[in-house]
């Protein structure tokens, strides 16, 4: 993905909700995109699948296996979706037709991209359900979506997403609606699929805890911009951008509290600016930033190398190093 921009219409004018995002994703790799609501992570994910609001304008470059997808026709996108890139999201219930069995829907997904007969498609569907950890795949085929528990529904959704062996899986908040113990199972399943299939995983999440254990690299987004990119290990060991530091500090951690002082969270002050009122020509995090200094109000910082990572912050601008 190079210089990807997604502009959405707000009050009659276009505003960049995703503003110049670059990243690479290799087979078997897991890259997490983290950020709070309104940072643009979901629009980014949808752009990668050619899905998005009709009013949105996508520019830049998305290449999957050498094919340029920005500007592709609806027909080309249909071939890419499911075949090369698949999507799972938070609410598996809305991905299924409630009146058709899970099995029939996975079979349909298999046959949408492959010229195979009914019985072969059925065999593949059962295989996918087994792969995603269905305890009894034969029986799973005959179930209706609403009869499945939240965790099994998400597994069935994954089975359907993997129906035609995509190279890339975009998982948009895949465990947010699940209980902690069940979410842990689904995340472990995603890890295994990555290893077994060489699946490239783009994990979209607001949950830094998930990132710590299930991503190789992390992209932190704020107000439509990438503000930090780093390996997962470095992000937690040495966060560079003040926003990343603030996010990590405000994360509730298990703690053995000893005094009333540790009841406090180190919260970031203020709120995420909405798209219509984002500060222009300055760092968009500056109004909330504890490290704010003169340059922050004058222009927008670029991504600068910061240790092993990169950060969009003047603290790392080599011109300002004295």
């Amino acid at each position: 993905m190079r210089d990807l921009r997604v502009e959405v219409s707000i009050g009659g004018r276009l505003a960049p909700a995703v503003n110049g995002v670059d990243f690479d994703l290799a087979a078997g790799e897991s890259v997490a995109v983290v950020g709070e609501s309104g940072c643009g992570k979901t629009l980014l994910a949808r752009a990668l699948l050619g899905l998005g609001p009709d009013s949105a304008r996508v520019s830049g470059s998305i290449r999957v296996g050498g094919h340029e997808l920005v500007g592709a026709s609806a027909e080309e996108w249909r071939c890419v979706r499911g075949r090369q890139i698949s999507l799972v999201f938070q609410e598996p219930a809305s991905a299924f037709d409630p009146v058709v069995t899970v099995g029939a829907q996975i079979v349909e997904a298999v046959r949408a991209h492959r010229k195979v007969g009914r019985s072969e498609a059925r065999r593949i569907a059962i295989e996918r359900l087994r792969e995603t950890g269905f305890p009894d795949p034969q029986r799973g085929m005959t179930e209706y979506p609403h009869r499945l528990s939240g965790g099994l529904k998400q597994r069935a959704f994954l089975a359907m997403a993997l129906a035609s062996d995509p190279a890339v899986l975009v998982a948009d908040e895949p465990t947010t609606a699940l209980d902690a113990t069940v979410a842990a199972q689904v995340l472990e399943l995603l890890d295994r699929l990555r290893l077994d299939r060489g699946l490239a995983l783009l994990l979209i999440t607001h949950d830094l805890g998930t990132v710590a254990t299930h991503a190789d690299r992390v992209i932190v987004m704020y107000a439509g911009r990438v503000v930090e990119e780093s390996t997962a290990a470095d992000l937690f060991r040495a966060p560079r951008h003040p926003y990343t530091r603030g996010l990590l500090a405000s994360l509730p951690r298990l703690s053995v509290r000893t005094s009333s002082a540790s009841r406090r969270f180190d919260a970031i002050s203020g709120v995420v600016p909405d798209l219509a009122s984002r500060p222009a020509r300055m760092c968009s995090f500056a109004p909330r930033c504890p490290e704010r200094f003169d340059p922050c109000d004058l222009e927008e910082p670029a991504l600068y190398p910061a240790g092993e990572s990169t950060a969009r912050c003047f603290l790392y601008d080599p011109r300002l190093r004295s």
Binding site: E36, S37, S149, G150, G151, L152, D179, A180, T181, V182, A183, A184, Q185, E188, H206, D207, L208, G209, T210, V211, A212, T213, A233, F236, R237, G246, L247, L248, A249, S250, L251, P252, R253, L254, S255, V256, R257, T258, S260, S262, R263, R264, F265, D266, A267, I268, S269, V271, V272
Partner: protein, 332 residues
């Protein structure tokens, strides 16, 4: 630590809520327990955390304590008085002492009333203030929760999610309650905003000597805000103790698994995960014996047959397990 001399502000004893199953050919006359014999005390100025997954009955328990739903059985004592025996009129008068903050201020606030009117409502309903006094009280409540006086004129749709939750908190605090049930108060908020709201709740608690029943699915949040924690599974409390003790050494295998599933971003502190198989069962068809046994990594034959009672263990803790303390996070 609990002092014997201190009478609890709120006591729940054997609280039970049964719901009828939809009457069908086979379901006729059957019912299931969403909350099944739950007992706890909350002291003055104390926060009791109630943690559990969906279907554990934690939210229902909060609603029963406030009598937003009538329990099927059990008792609730508030300052020693039988809360469930109060007549409608007496109940309305004393409601000012007990309030609730819900998860989603989007739905708990009325979209057609200004924020000021919603904060004023409990005060005027209770006859505590009117006219100019009422307007001044509303402004000072809004300022107390970190909002500007100008917010009073705004509608909920015109402010952010974090600000809406602050309005909901101002509304809950309007009658100067002694006890507030916080039902997943930050679950719908972004991390940085959630931290601000949790800080606000802690400040208000210290300033007004409030007691909280803090309900959440998130053990990490609960461990930070609570003095004591009760862990619920399928309608029952399976473990209770001081927050510090539970985090340091869980006694129930379910608590141990929850602790190990909690996100830990510091790789040095990351615990080995205890993998639970399956998902929480439906309260409508609970397993035999110990409700946790089908998912429990250390279940023995006895656990299938007999339900362990919630019984005192060491350090003043309570646990419902035949083999307490056997499963330790990081031990496998």
């Amino acid at each position: 630590m609990r002092r014997e001399s201190e009478a609890p502000l709120v006591s729940a004893r054997d609280l039970t809520k049964r719901y009828a199953l939809r009457a069908g050919v086979f379901g006729h006359g059957q019912s299931f327990a969403a909350v099944d014999g739950v007992s706890f005390d909350v002291l003055r100025g104390e926060t009791l955390g109630l943690v559990g997954e969906s279907g554990s009955g934690k939210s229902t328990t909060g609603r029963l304590v406030l009598r937003l739903e009538e329990p099927t059985g059990g008792r609730v004592l508030f300052e020693g008085d039988d809360w469930l025996a109060l007549s409608g009129r007496e109940l309305r008068r004393r409601r000012r002492d007990l309030q609730i903050v819900f998860q989603d201020p989007q739905t708990s606030l009325n979209p057609r009333m200004t924020c000021g009117a919603q904060v004023a409502e409990p005060l005027s309903v209770q006859g505590l203030a009117r006219g100019r006094d009422l307007r001044e009280r509303v402004v000072s409540l809004l300022e107390e929760v970190g909002l500007s006086a100008e917010t009073a004129r705004r509608f909920p749709s015109e402010i952010s999610g974090g600000q809406r939750q602050r309005v909901a908190i101002a509304r809950a605090l309007a009658t100067r309650p002694k006890f507030v049930v916080c039902d997943e108060p930050v679950s719908s908020l972004d991390v940085s905003v959630a931290a601000q709201v949790l800080n606000l709740l802690a400040e208000l608690r210290e300033k007004s000597h409030l007691s909280y029943l803090f309900i959440s699915h998130d053990l990490a949040v609960v461990s930070r805000v609570s003095d004591r924690i009760a862990v619920m599974y399928l309608g029952r409390i399976v473990e209770e103790g001081s927050a510090a003790a539970i985090v340091a050494r869980p006694l129930h295998p379910y608590t141990a698994a929850l602790l190990s599933a909690a996100p830990e971003t510091d790789p040095a502190l990351r615990r080995a995960r205890i993998a639970l198989s399956g998902e929480p069962p439906s309260p409508a068809s609970p397993p035999t014996g110990c409700a946790f046994h089908p998912r429990c990594p250390i279940a023995r034959p006895r656990c299938r047959l007999e339900a362990p009672p919630l019984a005192p263990s060491f350090e003043g803790r309570m646990v419902a397990c035949f083999f307490p303390g056997e499963l330790v996070p990081g031990s496998r």
